[in-house]
């Protein structure tokens, strides 16, 4: 009897393994049934994700924000008393303000590049169990979103649209190990390929063996035929270290992305044709140094102070200011 039970479970195991292998073969051969079943699941999940998004948006960053709470119990109690009534409102307001800032920055970047865009809210992140780096947006084909469209944030490239349903879209983030994008160096116009590494760092390989990277070089998207999947001129990242190995024919370098993929709240999807190629117009540049001359009335300058604002992609120029006392 026990032998029969063992045989039955083994037969079941073999049957299910063969079924799994059959499904994998079907998928690798490009049978559309598997793709449509994933799209159907996304259509089902999107409203749920949108529903819980409002609740989980403040909660989602709990672990990263927890260190900002008071350090002693007494201080915590005091803060709790003061904030009890307003806590919910403040969290929601700061969440909305954060999203508004991101939207403003993303629209600003799109406007400077002359792109026609659709703004979208991030309503989901890729599951930890899938090893893929994705986000889910609350816009879909009814808003004009199509597969292989470029997604940008306020600072630069985010990824590319991977799947679309009527009301949602899944974006493959540039940090995904399967992500590849052609890039050019803004300084020398040398071309290369940027590869996601699964984390915050990226690898870029030059295509030309005579080309050279320099630390601080800005990288922009090279662009694709028909602007799909990538429009050209989108800021991608900057070189943080150059890997000098004799083993590879072309130079490689580590890249830090302009977009912070861990804190995406609002992004824009480029849906329209370009008015023109932006070339290097979107390269994030630090604002020029502002020099303030402080002089006494009727006397020669006695003091000079230099203010250097932090680099901001949204600032392309700033006037010099002079103050006289």
């Amino acid at each position: 009897m026990a032998m029969n039970g063992n045989n039955r479970s083994r037969l079941l195991l073999v049957t299910l393994l063969v079924t799994s292998l059959f499904l994998i073969t079907l998928d690798l051969r490009g049978v559309s049934v598997t793709q449509s079943s994933r799209s159907a699941t996304q259509s089902f999940l999107a409203p749920i994700q949108r529903g819980v998004s409002d609740f989980f948006s403040p909660v989602g960053n709990f672990f990263s924000n927890v260190k900002n709470f008071g350090k002693t119990k007494a201080e915590l109690n005091q803060v709790k008393k003061q904030n009890e009534a307003l806590k919910k409102e403040v969290v929601l307001n700061s969440d909305i303000k954060g999203q508004l800032d991101q939207l403003k920055g993303a629209l600003d970047l799109a406007a400077r590049g002359g792109f026609k865009v659709v703004a979208a809210r991030v309503i989901g992140h890729g599951s930890a169990s899938t090893f893929s780096q994705t986000i889910t947006l609350d816009v879909g084909s009814t808003s004009g979103i199509r597969k292989d469209q470029t997604v940008i944030s306020e600072s630069g490239l985010v990824g590319v649209v991977k799947e679309v349903t009527s009301s949602s879209a899944i974006v493959l983030l540039m940090s995904d190990p399967t992500f590849r994008v052609g890039v050019r160096i803004a300084r020398s116009q040398g071309m290369g390929v940027l590869i996601g590494q699964g984390g915050k760092r990226y690898l870029v390989q030059l295509l030309d063996s005579s080309g050279k990277f320099q630390v601080g070089d800005a990288l922009l998207t090279l662009g694709s035929d028909g602007f799909k999947p990538f429009v050209s001129g989108i800021p991608v990242g900057k070189i943080i270290s150059v890997n000098s190995t004799t083993a590879s024919l072309t130079q490689e370098a580590d890249v830090s992305a302009y977009s912070n993929l861990g804190e995406l709240g609002v992004v824009t999807v480029i849906v329209g044709n370009l008015s023109s190629d932006p070339h290097n117009a979107l390269v994030p540049t630090p604002a020029p140094t502002r020099t303030v001359y402080v002089t006494s009335t009727g006397a020669p300058p006695v003091d000079t102070a230099t203010l250097t604002p932090s680099p901001s992609p949204s600032l392309t120029s700033a006037p010099k200011k002079k103050a006289t006392k």
Partner: protein, 173 residues
């Protein structure tokens, strides 16, 4: 495992999958993330007899394969979790009754999730999937182990009670 039980298990696992994709995935865990679905599935497989664990692994795998965020071929999770179901059922018999040793059960679930993720990466490599660097994947697997170890004691008693409630009198005996 009866057809009715397989169906109710599938519905329950899909409910857990919805929680995972809709809510848990929204939380930015430090050191990668936590797969609530895998933890629940491994715990349920550990409570089933051999053929039940294999079927539940297959069902859970198919549900995970439906995840729109996954890059792997459809069927890869089903393959991995069917094998894991068999391994778990085989080893559960040697470990004995979990209800008397909740600590051992939590550890078993955490190791089960770790083995599942490792096996998934290995199968992914075999089918030519690019899942990233070894260092990064090690962090993902170890991070999942840590979070599973921390969170499983919270939901495990409720999960066992829900399972008990769905058993027929014949299955209880």
């Amino acid at each position: 495992m009866s057809w009715l039980r397989a169906l109710t298990s599938a519905l329950f696992l899909f409910f857990v999958f919805t929680i995972q994709e809709g809510a848990i995935a929204r939380i930015n865990f430090p050191i990668t993330g936590f797969s609530f679905f895998l933890a629940v599935l491994v715990a349920l497989m550990a409570l089933e007899e051999k053929s039940g664990a294999v079927v539940m692994g297959f069902i859970g795998g198919i549900i995970l394969d439906l995840s729109p965020t996954t890059n792997s071929p459809f069927g890869q999770w089903a393959l991995v979790l069917t094998v894991v179901g068999y391994l778990i059922a085989t080893n559960t018999e040697s470990v004995g009754d979990f209800s008397a040793r909740p600590g051992a059960f939590v550890l078993f679930v955490a190791f089960g999730v770790t083995i599942t993720l490792t096996l998934y990466l290995l199968v992914g490599t075999l089918v030519g999937e690019n899942a990233g660097t070894i260092g990064r994947n090690t962090v993902v697997v170890l991070g999942n182990f840590m979070w599973t170890l921390l969170f499983t004691p919270i939901f495990l008693p409720s999960l066992v009670r829900v399972r008990q409630a769905t058993l027929t009198s014949r299955e209880r005996s």
